[in-house]
């Protein structure tokens, strides 16, 4: 019990340079997961928007492929909080929209480098998550959901008028000035050679690399002691406290981590759209990420990304007409139906369904 100094001694003091590097090396299944993710990310825009026959059926387009990844990052981080730690936040628009404004304002006044914009937006979101988490996590359950919602709505009103001189108020922030990637490649320009066929634009490549890093980070967190502690807190908060874990601080960490992912995604969102709509802070944005996560399947790394894909697909393609003219005007209804039917038939979401099928086929236990 009181041997913390000893534990620290063989944990930290012994760490050499090799250990420090070692921490960052992929290990175990990590490499396999990252490779698979990289392959999917590399062919996705081609299959979705350029592959003969398939893309004609899907009616996908390049810019939507990018947007799906961006929301996928948002939902992935959100699920670390909802699916793993068991906390339902209704105010994650604060981090998504906050990061978008921060990155946008940063591009206008400091630097338009896409990498620095992502950095600026993410740092803002993390600090904000720290602060709001500190205030909201005092109470659990419904109180937490309401508090996060209230804080996010406060930010919405702040940027709609009191801070309109910075944010552009109702019109949104229009002064985004994104520069070339590494000072060389305009993001909207096409990639060279075969990469153009596969990935399309520099913007997609940029977003895909960040998405891959986010998947790796999420995977690593879930397989660290944190992942286990988060699940333990979700399962039995009181018991976790009574084995000696500081539940409050772990929850705050989980909240900050999900704020980090929301920040990365929000920053990419402003780079993608070169514009920050005021609605990015509105409560509907918080609701959308909840729906995407639950639709795809909570408690999994990739489920929420799939959920984001399905959601955006219905929102953008089905609502857009051909070949869905007959239902286009009712796309909100379609979205609701997709959600209800999915949750009804597969309570663990789309990804949970995939898992069940796999377990059934392999007869395995997971």
């Amino acid at each position: 019990m009181s041997d913390e100094p000893a534990a620290a001694a063989d944990g930290e003091t012994g760490s050499s340079f090799a250990d420090t590097v070692g921490i960052w090396m992929p290990r175990g299944d990590e490499l396999r997961v990252m490779t698979a993710t990289a392959v999917v990310l590399a062919v996705f825009p081609f299959v979705f928007s350029r592959m003969p026959v398939v893309s004609d059926l899907l009616q996908g387009y390049q810019s939507l492929a990018t947007l799906i990844l961006i929301w996928g990052i948002f939902a992935l981080g959100f699920d670390l909080l909802l699916g793993y730690t068991g906390l339902l936040s209704f105010g994650h628009a604060a981090f998504w929209g906050g990061a978008a404004y921060a990155a946008g304002v940063f591009s206008q006044h400091v630097s338009g480098s896409p990498i620095l914009m992502v950095l600026a937006g993410t740092v803002f979101a993390v600090l904000l998550a720290w602060f709001l988490g500190f205030l909201s996590l005092r109470r659990g359950g419904i109180y937490f959901a309401i508090l996060t919602l209230a804080f996010a709505q406060m930010m919405f009103y702040m940027s709609s008028s009191p801070l309109a001189f910075i944010t552009g108020g109702e019109n949104g922030f229009t002064g985004v000035e994104t520069a070339e990637l590494f000072g060389l490649f305009p993001l909207e320009s096409e990639l060279p050679l075969v990469l153009e066929t596969l990935l399309g634009t520099w913007l997609y490549a940029f977003v895909a690399v960040i998405a891959l890093l986010c998947v790796a980070l999420g995977y690593r967190i879930l397989h660290s002691p944190y992942g286990m502690v988060f699940r333990a807190i979700r399962e039995n908060e009181q018991r976790a406290e009574f084995v000696g874990l500081n539940v409050w601080r772990y929850r705050l960490m989980s909240f900050i981590i999900s704020g980090f992912f929301a920040g990365v995604a929000g920053s990419l969102f402003v780079i993608h759209g070169t514009y920050v709509p005021l609605s990015s802070l509105y409560w509907t944005t918080s609701g959308e990420v909840v729906i995407m996560t639950v639709l795809g399947g909570t408690g999994s790394l990739f489920g929420p990304v799939v959920g984001a894909g399905v959601y955006l697909y219905v929102e953008n393609i089905v609502s857009g007409g051909h070949p869905f003219e007959f239902v286009a005007p009712f796309w909100h209804l379609i979205l609701g139906l997709v959600f209800v039917v999915t949750i009804w038939v597969f309570p663990r979401g789309i990804w949970g369904f995939f898992r069940d099928v796999r377990d059934y086929v392999t007869g395995g236990e997971d």
């Binding site: 019990m1 397989h223 002691p225 944190y226 286990m228 979700r234 018991r239 406290e241």
Partner: protein, 252 residues
Amino acid sequence: MALLETENLVKEFGGLVATDEVNLSVEEGERVSIIGPNGAGKSTLVNLITRRLDPTSGDIRFKGESIVGHDPHEVVQMGVSKSFQTASIFSDLTVRENAEIAALASEHGSFGFKLLEHRDSLTGVHQVARDTLDAVGLLDQADRQASELPYGDKRRLEIGIALAAEPDLLLMDEPTAGMSPEETEATVDLVEEVKRELGLTFVLIEHDMEIVFRISDRIVVLNRGQVIAEGTPDEIKGDAAVQEAYLGGVEL
């Protein structure tokens, strides 16, 4: 110096005095049982010691230091562990993970920044978890999901979680409640083994007098929140006040 001491400890729920001026002292290495009729305030006393409840007045000292004002996880980190009256486990985690969580908290403190390290690198944690599961006889079920265990095994896992925290003082609230006679027997054997091998100090709340007389060095009798008698098993058996208030004159 006693390992655990309470001084004029009082807990009121509205008008009800659940703990009434209790002065309890537990020496290191001692096994103390708390008995008393339903509603006597046994669980309340334990909950006060683990900081699940705030006392109305009085003081609680562990290793000489007052723990009133500490958070529950801080008290656990100081060395007080508790098994719950009902199986309070992490249902969706494996049996092994249940033990690992407790071992992790005890080996690495209440909070850490190991969010990028792999769980497999925590060899000390794995060893403690393994030893604990072995001790409570659940090692062969380590990879099962905790929710799948039969009730008796869940209760043993509950004790295992408390043990994996490697406590200096273990508080057990009715560890055999709801168990079959065989499971009760196995659990009592387990407690005796813990007593013999680890030399652990523990406070046991138990209704079964046979068990209490078998494994306690000292017995504390509570009634309506008050300590009405205290002594060795033999002294308690012969105590008239205890016969009167609690045992209802039954011959033992």
